[in-house]
Subunit: 188 residues, 2 copies
Amino acid sequence: MPAPARTSTEAVVTAARGIVERDGLDALTMQRVADEVGVRAPSLYKRVRDRADLVRLVADQVAYELADRLDAVVGSGDPHDDLRAVAGAFREFARANPASYTLLFDPRSGGMSPEARDTSVSVLLRVATDLAGPDDGLSAARLVTAWATGFVAMELAGAFQLGGDVESAWAYAVEHLVAAVAGDGAET
Amino acid sequence: MPAPARTSTEAVVTAARGIVERDGLDALTMQRVADEVGVRAPSLYKRVRDRADLVRLVADQVAYELADRLDAVVGSGDPHDDLRAVAGAFREFARANPASYTLLFDPRSGGMSPEARDTSVSVLLRVATDLAGPDDGLSAARLVTAWATGFVAMELAGAFQLGGDVESAWAYAVEHLVAAVAGDGAET
DNA sequence: ACCTGAACACCGTTCAAGT
DNA sequence: ACCTGAACACCGTTCAAGT
């Protein structure tokens, strides 16, 4: 009557994330996760409700990790530099974890949980508020977040194919956004 | 020996798009497409290579349609107003075709073909060049495209949950982007 | 030349049975 | 309390056989 737990939810999620990162979301199979954690597929249903639930757990793990990275690069004292740093860290994270990153903003994966989402955007909200003031902070954060999200998504999807230098497009955008957000807010 | 073609590639793609729009990409099943066009599933392989190919064809159809919509709203004479109009039309299209729209920017769907992509961004490139000048046109177009893509993706995913008014965040962004892009280009 | 039934390998998921 | 084999319904895809 013991019941030796041969794996754990954490091991299952970590294995799943590794599979997604290495071979893409379509390769995330219950069978394959089971193989990696050393168990039979049906046993996974003691850890996660179903495959969609597992995908969501992976997205959450990635979201918290991204939030940590963003948190780590702010604090220069100058909100202009903080915004540049956050944008850079965001892009770096996406490049280092392309498949996991797309999972975060893929509507088809159910996205991340609300708490994970709040955590990952709170840093940017703080920096944007420092820069744009309390009235425009939220709108400014949404502008920058939407831009960074879209830019990186397009970059990962190979959408920048009209030639030109992607690096200079990035630099152009960062500087113009910093200036636009920091400038006095057009019409209140 | 005739061989009465009981369907067509166009009918297959249209049926597929309808399914995606009504019930999501996961509901796009070869069986279900076959049912809708009145044929057995194996016959679909005379029209498309495989399911992934079918998804790409749907994405292409949607991309061309989006390009048409954007094309239709420019020409006010004022590039500022054109940019506002294009952004608005972009958002409207996404709201009217949420599932098809996400298909366009979903890396997992293989995205659209290069020609479809070029067509859909050419309008924005033209407007951005009018506004930012030939040197910065491409970077400006990429800034606006990335922002609009990201904003709409987040909106469709229900990512704006920190309260505040999403409409005012949209308006704030449009005005600040128009001003930032039209202003003399920071450092050349 | 297109259509079909039958078949294959592979999914996610359930469940009764083991320990 | 967790694990397992067996089973179910459902995929995408291939292919020989029809017309």
